[in-house]
Amino acid sequence: MRIVIAGGKHQADFLIKMFKAEKHQLTVINKDEQFSDYISTENDIPVFQSDPSKAYALSDADIDGSDIVIALSDKDTENYVICKLAKKLFHVKKCVCIVSNPKNVHIFKTLGIDSVISSTYLLGQTVKTEINIERWFKTLSIEDDKIVMTEIEVEKDFAIVNKKLMDIKFPKNINISCVFRDPDVIIPNGQTLIKSEDKLILISKPQEQDEIINFIRKKK
């Protein structure tokens, strides 16, 4: 993919290394002279030392038709303008930016920025999810996060309650390895009936975990 990294310091450095390792085609635009020099000595990629919120800078860097522009400046409004110009003038497919004011996550999205990231907002979301997770499921990662084991407690209003496993239309790649029904441990088969307060142990890939949890937790 063609990725443009506009502005930023540590985050930019980190992302450049990461994307380079994944063999993406990178372009860097950064106002800071020292940082631009550092990036071009460390990496064999095009680096343009100029203000990425200027149309001519984006034009010089030849970003037309790029897949993603990532705006990492510490000024929210600068990132906003970078993303807007990239879309409007240079047909960039997707724009991602960071914001320091968490309120801007929602506002930027309303104003048409594809993806907006605020560390404070994420922190808040993570804490919120952690609190929720405590209540209804536990996760264990195996093999360096390549497999996750999830424990979910079945609540009485879930759609899967009182259904046989064979009659439930599960998403692909779901594997219910075990059902705890106190005090029993059941190794399930198609005939196994799911009951309220069962604890299900699921094995899945991490990227499919959300989908599976959402499916199990679907209400009647």
Binding site: S53, K54, A55, Y80, K88, N101
Partner: protein, 138 residues
Amino acid sequence: MKKHNVIVIGSGRLGANIATSMSEKGENVIIIDADHDSFRKLNDSFSGYQIVGDATDTAILENASIKETKMVVITTDNDNTNIFIAHLCFYLYDVPMIIVRLTDNDKGVLLENTTIKPIYPFKLSIKAFIELTEGMLS
């Protein structure tokens, strides 16, 4: 709170002068600037409200009754800030009249398909230059 008719954002020379003259004409004016000292540029005849704060924050705009305003004039010294605030006024608050000062003409493309009206000091200077030199150059 009394209904306010005009909000001026950025109390630089242009903003402060516009705010003062609008106020002299009897408009209810609110002027917003992040720096309290900037209000020194306002003339004594200015009888509107001053708000110290960052106008890219919607809480500040709402505090200035943006939802009831008929006109917003945006004149901070940063084009990116000006564009962002102009977009907030247009897309979020449906302000009937929005005027924005832009130093960089290229950024005008971001105002397409909106009713936001730009002021370009660069274009005005060029125009003045042409008028001043009219007939003098062959």
